[in-house]
């Protein structure tokens, strides 16, 4: 056992895991507090015009809001840890099942988006860094700065206007499941994937460029050059390979950001994922659904960050030893 924890990588993983659990506990408290921070009575607000004294009592009792606060928290935390996130205020459906039903659509969109972003950002960022100060570097930097400044929903509408409404090449919105209709899924995922991917590519290009520039000025690269290695070998084996380590971090962060941040894109493209679900839940004041979605997305966010940190420590010994 002692030998196991003597390993620096396992100690690092243990520390990171503990940290993630502490943050997750905080997330749980915040998600629980959400419904109690609503000014007024959340059940009354959620019922709106459907209010009757009977419906009010039934929903209040079903959601456990008639019990003491501390009891409510431990009941909520205990249920959440076993995967029970309560029932929707709107239709009484179990929140966990609703969230899991929407998760694949968001994950598939996020993966397509991150792949498009990597396909653009890796070559653009590496080229820009290796041609620093040239016209092509300037064009790539200005383009990526421009991309960071474009609202994703505006880009989505312009892409729909061009590729769907004017040229008629792709559908304006909608979704087909990947497993039952892969062709239909591909046609429907291109425009939202492109919207998500182009914005992420703009951010990632800047990180790739910076990472390559930092490695290119490192001592081991100077040594490799002074040994007389061919420039192509120095670039591929010594610069790009090492620069990919920090790129891994930003890819993970971007993936996590996309998973929780595609709300507007999903609304524009009527993509039935978590983002659109959150939006509809906010509009309907469906607090258990909002709580569940917030908890799930924050957990995914923490999990991806944890995986990225561990991978980073595996490939870069300086991190785990620091």
């Amino acid at each position: 056992m002692r030998t196991l924890f003597a390993s620096p990588i396992l100690r690092f993983v243990g520390r990171r895991l503990l940290y993630s659990l502490v943050v997750l506990a905080g997330v749980l408290v915040l998600a629980f507090a959400l419904v109690h921070l609503v000014p007024g009575d959340p059940v009354r607000i959620a019922l709106g015009t459907r209010y009757t004294p009977e419906a009010y009592q039934a929903l209040r009792s079903a959601s456990g809001l008639d019990r003491p606060l501390v009891q409510q928290f431990f009941s909520y935390a205990g249920s959440a840890l076993t995967g029970d996130l309560g029932v929707s205020f709107r239709n009484g459906d179990p929140v966990t099942a609703t969230l899991l039903e929407r998760l694949p659509a968001t994950v598939s969109l996020a993966i397509v988006g991150i792949l498009i972003a990597l396909l653009i950002a890796l070559p653009a960022g590496i080229w820009s860094a290796l041609h620093r100060g040239r016209i092509s570097d300037g064009i790539i930097r200005v383009t990526s700065q421009f991309g960071v400044s474009i609202p994703d929903f505006w880009m989505a509408i312009l892409l729909i206007g061009l590729f769907a409404s004017t040229l008629g090449w792709l559908p304006t919105s909608g979704y087909r499941p990947l497993l039952t209709d892969p062709g239909g899924w591909l046609r429907h995922v291109i425009l939202p994937g492109l919207t998500v991917g182009l914005v992420a590519a703009a951010i990632m290009t800047r990180y790739v460029r910076t990472a390559v520039l930092e490695v290119a000025s490192a001592a081991h690269v100077r040594t490799a050059r002074s040994k007389g290695l061919a420039p192509a070998v120095v670039t591929s084996r010594h610069i790009v390979r090492n620069a990919l380590v920090p790129v891994l971090t930003i890819t993970g962060i971007q993936l996590a950001t996309i998973l929780g941040g595609v709300i507007v894109v999903e609304v524009v493209f009527a993509w039935p994922g978590l983002g659109r679900l959150v939006y509809n839940a906010v509009a309907a004041r469906d607090y258990p659904l909002i709580q569940g979605a917030v908890l799930l997305i924050a957990t995914l966010f923490l999990l991806i960050n944890l995986i990225v940190d561990v991978l980073y420590a595996v490939v870069d010994p300086r991190i785990r030893l620091s």
Partner: protein, 294 residues
């Protein structure tokens, strides 16, 4: 003539360096022009923001309507100008909130250390576990949509980043010899914080403010696009883009001009932030000076 103190010299050379960067200079000019146009929108707008003129609906850009008209015949230029004012107002107020709260938390955590640092930074970590728009949406879900809620939501969302930047900078400043000397001389914490810490952590905070203003504009536009930000009849750039969805092929100007207004403001804040970083970050400053002297 006596030599200027070194602090003034640094300030003058910082300004020179900042103004020598054409992109930074252009961004500054654009932002001043946008601020003036937005500030005087009520007077310079050619029409009222809700002047309905159905016979002239969906008119393309012309001498009478520079940015064209929308589906109700309202002048898009007038609505863009007034919406820009609201956007700037929301972003400035929300970022000011984030700066005040975030810097206070970060400086206290970094300067005092101990339990204050642990508690404040764990709260910040929890807030960082939420994607920006999700957290803003959760706050809107609690308080209901509207301009004040939007300001508060964006302000809360951006607070953690200022807390982290302020804490990191304070940690490095508090170990500086001049702070230690000041402390041994019996100087009070308030004086040390205001005289030594805050001026020396201002650089990264100024850069972060510029970049956050850009993201705040984008966040406000996204919330308004979803119908959860600025509410009608007041125009907002995000909602104007939402309303243009049904007219993409019929009236491209309905989407293009409000979107272009957002891009111009956000791009200008981003470029200004980059320019400021070049001057205020010592590592980047050396590079910028080398480029200038080349």
């Amino acid at each position: 003539m006596t030599d200027m103190p070194s602090g003034d010299n640094l300030r003058v050379s910082s300004w020179r360096l900042l103004l020598a960067n054409p992109l930074t200079l252009a961004s500054g000019v654009v932002l001043i022009a946008v601020a003036i146009a937005a500030g005087t929108a009520r007077w310079i707008a050619p029409s009222g923001i809700n002047d309905v003129d159905v016979p002239n609906a969906l008119q393309p850009p012309s001498g009478a309507h520079w940015f064209g008209t929308d589906e109700l015949g309202r002048d898009i230029l007038s609505r863009v100008l007034v919406a820009m004012q609201a956007s700037l107002q929301v972003s400035v107020v929300s970022v000011a909130f984030a700066v005040v709260v975030g810097v206070t938390v970060g400086v206290v955590a970094g300067y005092r250390g101990g339990w204050a640092d642990i508690v404040f930074m764990r709260v910040v970590d929890v807030m960082f576990a939420f994607p920006v728009l999700l957290l803003a949406l959760a706050i809107v879900a609690i308080l209901g949509p509207g301009m004040t809620t939007t300001m508060l939501a964006i302000g809360i969302v951006f607070t953690p980043i200022f807390a982290r930047v302020a804490r990191a900078s304070t940690l490095s400043v508090r170990t500086e010899p001049y702070v230690a000397v000041s402390r041994t001389m019996g100087t009070g914490h308030g004086f040390i914080l205001s005289r030594h810490v805050l001026p020396n952590i201002a650089g990264p905070l100024i850069v972060q403010t510029s970049l956050s203003l850009a993201f705040a504009i984008l966040s406000e536009a996204a919330l308004s696009f979803l119908g959860l930000g600025i509410q009608p009849p007041h125009p907002s750039l995000g909602r104007m883009i939402f309303d243009s969805q049904g007219f993409v092929t019929l009236a491209w100007w309905m989407a293009v001009f409000p979107g272009a207004a957002i891009v111009v403001i956000v791009l200008a804040f981003n470029l200004l932030g980059d320019g400021l970083r070049d001057v205020l970050d010592p590592k980047q400053r050396t590079l910028a000076e080398a480029r200038r002297n080349r």
